[in-house]
């Protein structure tokens, strides 16, 4: 089973990270899921693949009633992002799924009906979670061509999907980045190969460096907090991406 860590809390406004499953087979990439709660509602960010559903579900339900999940936010269309969709819908068939318009007819292959999907336009979307204002912001081509991140201005948390991801060696399982220089080595290859566009990366770095961010939460690896957030943005800005080793 995965563990849950509350990384932000103000009353019933919470950010809960669902991370690190010791029982997960190694051939599956490790993923972080995040639950944002406000009032009586919950929004699950990148709920993960079908194979890890039991681990994510059981961890989440220790903190939150899964039938009260009002929506899923899918940063993009990958199987590690949302191939569990059909299983989550069993618990609340009315649940919605936010996803880039680019993928809104692709992701239904994982489940859902015409009513399930809310297609997000390229410029992003304001999402309300029981009165809490969240912003889906563009991160196209990082790495998916239709890609969005989610910003919570009150909590100052940015969920950054695959941006900031690190493929950590076994045993390196801290939730937060502790030594930036050591950590970033595990992120470099991933960003060079998975991220497709230097131009898109430039725009993203400009956009997010103007935002107030205490925590940058990727879908793989560890969370950047405090000064490491800007450190990461600067590092990413200087990195040449879209490169294939061979």
């Amino acid at each position: 089973m995965k563990t849950t860590k509350t990384i932000f809390q103000d009353g019933n406004h919470k950010w809960i990270a669902i991370v690190r499953d010791p029982d997960k087979p190694n051939y599956l990439i490790d993923t972080n899921e995040y639950l944002v709660t406000h009032g009586g509602q919950g929004l699950l960010l990148d709920p993960g693949g079908a194979e890890v559903f039991p681990a994510v579900f059981s961890a989440l339900s220790s903190e939150f009633d899964p039938s009260a999940l009002s929506a899923i936010f899918a940063s993009h269309q990958d199987p590690d992002i949302c191939s569990s969709l059909a299983l989550w819908l069993e618990f609340n068939p009315k649940m919605r799924c936010y996803v880039s318009w680019l993928w809104s007819s692709f992701i239904p292959h994982f489940g859902g009906t015409a009513e399930t999907f809310i297609a997000m336009p390229d410029e992003g979307l304001d999402i309300s979670l029981d009165g809490l204002h969240l912003q889906a912001i563009p991160a196209h081509y990082l790495h998916s061509s239709g890609n969005l991140h989610l910003y919570d201005k009150i909590a100052k948390v940015l969920f950054s999907g695959d941006v900031g991801a690190a493929l950590l060696p076994p045993g390196d399982d801290g939730l937060f980045v502790e030594n930036f220089d050591a950590h970033i080595r595990h992120a470099e290859g991933f960003h060079r190969r998975w991220m497709g566009s230097n131009e898109a990366k430039r725009r993203w770095c400009e956009r997010v460096s103007q935002m107030e961010i205490d925590m940058l939460c990727p879908q793989h690896g560890a969370i950047y907090q405090g000064a490491d957030v800007q450190r990461f943005i600067n590092w990413f800005d200087g990195l040449q991406v879209g490169i294939c080793g061979s």
Partner: protein, 209 residues
Amino acid sequence: MTMTTALTTRPSKAQQAGVDLLRIVRINEEIKAVVGVAFKINIMALNAIFLAKRAGTAARGFGVLSNELRVFSQDLRDGMSVLTAHIHACVTEVSVVLQDIRHTALLRQAVEQSSAACGRAVLAAREVENDRHAERLARLRKQLRAALDDAFRMVELGGVLAKSAKIEAAYGQSFAVPLAQVSGEFDGVVEEIRASLESLRRSAFFTGN
């Protein structure tokens, strides 16, 4: 209606569904081959009719039979489209059941590991749905079996016709040789289809072993 117990019997159920899928795929391939052969019969029946016309009064008995063969070949074609429709429905339903099993296993694992109050109800609802699919598969399996039996009976009748045609061919005077050849080929093809259908009826997909 029996409730499925996906946890306790999951491995054997999943294996069973996997084996069923393989079997039904094989039956499907076999039926496709039979449909192809059945198509040949149509042309043969037409040939027999032309030949009978040419032979005229010399082969009156064969002429009557060749018309029967033509009717048979059309009936066989209809029977094959019924079989094809049934087999497609079975392939779809077995795939659905296979998907149900994986889906339910993940759900069950999630519910058992969690403290969520709604878990049992969701799982029970899923199992009701699974039972509906399993029942539909059982129904389709019976229908397919019945369609196979119908086709088999039809082909047996076709065999009798072909053998009678062979006998009649002998009275075809100067046309006896070509008539014997046509009816012999016809009989051979009907026999081929009969053997295929017979082995299909014995498939473990129906006996469940």
